[in-house]
């Protein structure tokens, strides 16, 4: 039997479909149309909200397959892996795309090994090769200095992860029709050597990833105390504060603030960089921002290559004036 169809791995939390699923649909719609095939969203969970499943259809899925059991309520590697393998065996997808989330990054390698499939992590561009129909997976390699395009010529499914917030979520269209298949996970697949004991939330962590405006501090801020200046600008713009790795390494802000290859990827409406040089590793986490503003004393700084609006001057001169001129608070 042939392998056919593009699939995305949707994610849920407490039965509610998560944003990453809608971002994956954006990727999936394009791939399915290029490949001339259908788009299916797979979701593992328990009692997943019916409106949310319909929401996946509204946003571009032709079909939703929900595999459910109480043991699948939250991610556990073994039962998730076995259920996904069973789905692959039954439906034989050609392509599976997941988010590079704590779930996707763990589940996908487990499944890829067992399914004898190739897997490419953290793709920034996904495309279909003309003629062969192979999935072309492009990702940064060696610290982001190089991009590599990878394919899986002989093994199926072709699997890839993409970073959260690296695309916009697909918009819903009313009146879209599709099939929702709810399957009860077979009991024999649900044993787990890992048990959930508890959870402690960290709200601040999530805020930066979801922020629509971000003010990023680079080493040009010079001292930890000066971060306060950036915070004031962030408050005025209703923005979250992010940082480059150099700032985090110096302890001026904590690791959860780091934007870039080894930190978070963000796609806000507005990115304001203060004294960030725009290293390729930093760009890897922010260049898909909608509007990019940069303040840097060095006219040759890389950040200006990706910026929409730049001021070549000291942030210590620019920010106080900007604070005065901005309306509000």
């Amino acid at each position: 039997m042939q392998h056919e169809g593009v699939w995305i791995l949707a994610e849920q939390s407490h039965g509610r479909v998560q944003r990453i699923s809608h971002e994956l649909l954006t990727r999936g719609i394009e791939l399915a149309s290029k490949r001339g095939t259908t788009l299916t969203a797979l979701i593992l969970g328990n009692n997943v909200n019916q409106d949310d499943l319909q929401g996946l259809i509204d946003r571009g899925a032709d079909r939703v397959v929900a595999v459910e059991a109480p043991q699948l309520e939250s991610f556990l590697p073994q039962p998730y892996m076995r259920c996904m393998l069973k789905v692959i065996e039954d439906y034989r997808p050609e392509i599976i795309i997941a988010g590079a989330t704590s779930t996707g990054r763990t589940l996908m390698p487990l499944v890829a090994i067992k399914a004898n499939a190739g897997l490419t992590a953290d793709c920034t561009v996904l495309d279909i090769e003309e003629g062969s129909g192979n999935l072309l997976q492009t990702r940064p390699a060696i610290g982001g200095n190089i991009m590599a395009t990878i394919k899986t010529p002989n093994n199926r499914p072709q699997m890839a992860t993409v970073r959260p917030h690296s695309t916009r979520p697909a918009e819903p269209a009313s009146g879209r029709e599709g099939q929702i298949v709810r399957l009860k996970a077979p009991q024999e697949l649900l044993a787990s050597d890992v048990k959930h004991v508890g959870f402690s939330p960290n709200v601040e962590e999530q805020a930066l990833s979801d922020a629509q405006r971000v003010v990023v501090v680079g080493r040009g801020i010079k001292k930890g105390e000066n971060v306060e200046l950036a915070r004031r600008l962030a408050d005025k713009l209703d923005a979250a504060v992010g940082a480059t790795r150099d700032v985090v390494d110096r302890g001026w802000l904590s690791y959860p603030h780091q934007i870039g290859l080894s930190g978070k990827t963000i796609t806000p409406q507005l990115y304001v960089g203060l004294g960030a040089s725009g290293s390729i590793q930093h760009l890897a986490g922010m260049q898909t921002s909608e509007v990019i503003v940069a303040v840097n004393t060095d006219p040759e700084a890389q950040i200006f290559k990706v910026a929409d609006f730049g001021i070549v001057a000291s942030l210590f001169d620019v920010v106080p004036v900007l604070l005065e001129k901005l309306p509000g608070k």
């Binding site: 763990t106 060696i142 050597d193 001021i311």
Partner: protein
């Protein structure tokens, strides 16, 4: 406790060249270090051994010079090292790497934990840890940020996820991959360095492991690098270069107008 720590030797700088034809890295002439994120795995292993007794074996798959990474691990306090090296392993992707490392772990014999780094700074996939678990049919917990306790044949750990920390319990044996928060790596000691210099490091090739020839190296890897290129980034930037207070004011007015135009304020 018997703990196995897979460590990777990676290039020190990011000034690495690629072989455009095969899509693999040219490692010659670049200084090599232990993958920085593997130092956290080594440190956690040392703390667990010092607390509960037992031994730690580091294993590294790579060219013969990867033995240096194992010696560094020993100088930090790891008990012994095994090099997994063979021309047949060259060009392995994460599938083929996990396959060989799992075979090496199996050959080392009974253990309680395999502790991996979160990811290697060169390949940067984070796939090998779960990959080893899959080949060994063992449970895995990724992104471990804190080791809480050992209770009756199980370990209790914190796992870093997007919106907080999960508290999980895993029956041993199993595989962990750890993040930076898990421990602060110690520096090698003088005595450790002496021990490392004298350490006998066995080297295992394909014939020493229970592996199939067709699953090794480039030929055994499902993925193929087909193209390598320099990333290009470009937007049209409106650039202001103020030289005095007046032009600074103009530049900032320009910015405020720009943000207003984009309906961001």
């Amino acid at each position: 406790m018997r703990i196995i720590v897979p460590i990777k030797q990676v290039p020190e700088t990011n000034a690495v060249r690629m072989d455009e034809a095969t899509g693999t890295m040219i490692r010659d002439g670049v200084e090599a270090i232990v993958n920085p994120l593997d130092l956290y795995a080594i440190e956690l292993a040392i703390q667990l051994r010092d607390q509960h007794g037992g031994e730690i074996i580091a294993v590294s798959m790579g060219p013969p010079k990867a033995a240096a990474a194992l010696r560094e691990a020993i100088s930090m306090g790891v008990d012994s090292g095994v090099l997994v090296s063979d021309k047949a392993f060259a060009g392995s992707d994460t599938w083929a790497t996990s396959y060989v490392l799992a075979a090496a772990v199996r050959k080392i014999g009974a253990f309680d934990l395999v502790i991996c780094g979160e990811r290697a700074t060169d390949g940067d996939t984070g796939q090998v840890g779960p990959g080893i678990a899959a080949f060994l049919d063992l449970p895995v917990i990724s992104y471990v940020s804190k080791f809480d306790s050992l209770v009756q044949g199980a370990c209790r750990v914190h796992r870093l996820v997007e919106n907080g920390y999960e508290l999980l319990e895993m029956a041993l044996p199993g595989v962990l991959t750890v993040v930076k928060e898990v421990a602060a790596p110690r520096l090698p000691t003088l005595r450790g360095k002496q021990k490392a210099r004298k350490a006998e490091i066995p080297s295992w090739g394909a014939k020493d492991l229970d592996v199939h020839a067709d699953k090794l190296g480039l030929a055994g890897s499902p993925t193929r690098v087909v193209k390598i290129f320099r990333p290009s980034v470009a937007r049209k930037c409106v650039k202001h270069v103020p030289t005095d207070e007046r032009t600074l004011n103009e530049a900032v007015d320009g910015l405020v107008g720009f943000l207003r135009g984009k309906q961001l304020i």
